[in-house]
């Protein structure tokens, strides 16, 4: 079946502009995650959505970052007034519910470059 998809695959933007990154999780997966991976670094947790529960936003680095998940499926990560330090690969993952749902299925990522 289809995996997690993300768009765009690459985004180049000028400093100060807003960007929207999209994630389409695997159908039926109720949990969705956003991570950021800077060059040569591990993944940094940003936000977690689970069903209709309030999201865990504890990883968002500043109030310029926000995310929505509409209808329990597609999610959009928005970065306002982008800065050069926002340049990174933004990865989305999803998991099904249940006790065996620890494994996270990742999308290919969006490479964001802020010039």
């Amino acid at each position: 079946g289809a995996g997690v998809s993300q768009s765009p695959s690459n985004k180049v933007t000028e400093k100060g502009k807003d960007v929207e990154l999209r994630c389409d999780p695997i159908s039926g997966h109720t949990a969705l995650y956003w991570y950021r991976q800077s060059l040569g670094q591990g993944l940094e947790f940003l936000i977690y959505f689970q069903g209709n529960s309030a999201p865990d936003k504890s990883g968002l680095p500043s109030d310029r970052f926000s995310a929505e998940r509409t209808g329990g499926s597609v999610s959009t990560l928005t970065i306002q007034r982008t800065q050069q330090e926002d340049s990174a690969v933004y990865l989305c993952a999803s998991t099904p519910t249940g006790r065996s749902s620890y494994e996270q299925y990742f999308g290919p990522g969006t490479r964001l470059t802020v010039t």
Binding site: L91, Y102, Q104, F106
Partner: protein
């Protein structure tokens, strides 16, 4: 701060050799997972070991977990050029099965 730290940062071996990567972490965990990231691709889950398990196998992969030392190792036997990738350990803290914390990864290069 990073919960998991992989060691070594980079490893280069010949095809057919075994590769061992280590991961250390700081707090108590629910489970520890290993992921692989090929160049230009997303992460792929390899194996999960729970805190009450000590060893797990999956194909050519063997993972060990020592909760007393807060460490894990990933062994890839009979390596292939296709195993060339970055390998990350990720820990889920006790009480949370979703909030994974990833290390910086080990870059494995398998030379044909």
């Amino acid at each position: 701060s990073q919960q998991g730290e992989e060691d070594p940062q980079a490893l280069s071996i010949q095809e057919g050799e075994n590769a061992t990567m280590n991961c250390s972490y700081k707090t108590s965990i629910n489970n520890l997972q290993w992921y692989r990231q090929n160049s230009g691709r997303g992460l792929v889950h390899l194996i999960l070991i729970r805190s009450n398990e000590r060893e797990k196998h999956s194909g050519r992969l063997r993972v060990t977990l020592d909760t007393s030392k807060k460490s894990s190792s990933l062994l890839i036997t009979a390596s292939r050029a296709a195993d060339t990738a970055s390998y990350f350990c990720a820990t889920a803290p006790t009480g949370s099965n979703y909030k994974l914390t990833f290390g910086k990864g080990t870059l494995l290069t398998v030379n044909p």
